[in-house]
Amino acid sequence: MSDYGVLLVSHVPQIVEGLSILLREVAPDVAITAAGGTDDGGVGTSFDKIQTAVLKNAGESLLAFYDLGSSKMNLDMVAELSDKKIEIFDTAFIEGAYTATALLQAKVPYHEILKQLEPLKVK
């Protein structure tokens, strides 16, 4: 298991469920955890769900991806309070997460992954 993990945060549970399926297919060895929707499964983001997803992730250093700006604010707060190093990427959500995860699976070094994520920045 690599010491990097991937954290996915979305407003809707189904989006991150589906994205996790897509990513696991290309990266069976990468630690991927996700938080989608509010505590009661509605549209929004949940600080608690994100915190749980951080704890459950086997990675010590997390690459985090989110859909809309408000999930980023929740992610930020979790990141500030967490012991893990959490890097939040302002990239296209699905495309950025896919790229990072595929590269982690291929054991590409972190600084090289950062470079490949750069052009996917849209936020």
């Binding site: 509605g42 929004g44 949940s46 600080f47 700006g69 604010m73």
Partner: protein, 196 residues
């Protein structure tokens, strides 16, 4: 100055106003967002009320921090981390002394700005917090002025949050977070938080 009891009364009045205006707040959000600001805020303030009733609090800091964590956890929208950061910031400042309400509110504003990076004029809750904090400092906060700041978000073009996706089309509607923040400051006045 803030005392434990006054703070709790303030926050409960805020929650009551949010509950009363729930539908209105969501309607405002429907126009330029996703239509959930009222339900978000009502869920958050209801959770806040519950935790504030659950035990006795010794310090204002403790009350504000508990309120902030409840709002952060339960609101579920952008306003969750924003109000959460405001209250957590206020709690930290209240730890330095609960007498200086103006400094406490200033710390709340700082929390919001740090979290959301909004500037004055971006059509967010900051457009109420910013002048309100200033007015408290100068002892001139009033219901009328709060209403003015809230209404002043109507002609603004949103630069932050979901409304910013609409560009020009965000003009002509009041910002829901500005309205809910207005309720927070109104409640302060009504509960005498600002009285010496």
């Amino acid at each position: 100055m803030l005392t434990v009891e006054k703070t709790i009364r303030w926050l409960n009045l805020f929650g009551q106003k949010v509950e009363e205006k729930k539908v209105y707040l969501s309607e405002l959000d429907q126009a330029i967002g996703d239509g959930d600001h009222g339900t978000n805020m009502a869920r958050g303030t209801a959770a806040m009320k519950t935790v504030l009733e659950q035990k006795a609090y010794d310090t204002v800091q403790d009350v504000l921090k508990t309120a902030g964590m409840a709002l952060l956890s339960k609101i579920g929208g952008a306003s969750g981390p924003l109000y959460g950061s405001a209250f957590i910031g206020m709690a930290k400042q209240a730890g330095e002394g609960a007498a200086d309400v103006s400094a406490i509110l200033e710390a709340g504003l700082e929390g919001i700005r740090k979290r959301g990076n909004a500037e004055a004029g971006d059509k967010t809750m900051v457009d109420v917090w910013l002048p309100a904090v200033d007015a408290v400092k100068n002892k001139e906060l009033s219901r009328e002025r709060i209403d003015e700041w809230v209404k002043a978000t109507e002609p603004m073009k949103a630069k932050k949050g979901r409304a910013s996706y609409l560009g020009e089309r965000s003009i002509g509607h009041m910002d829901p977070g500005a309205v809910s923040s207005g309720l927070l400051f109104e409640s302060m006045i009504e509960e005498g938080v600002l009285d010496e």
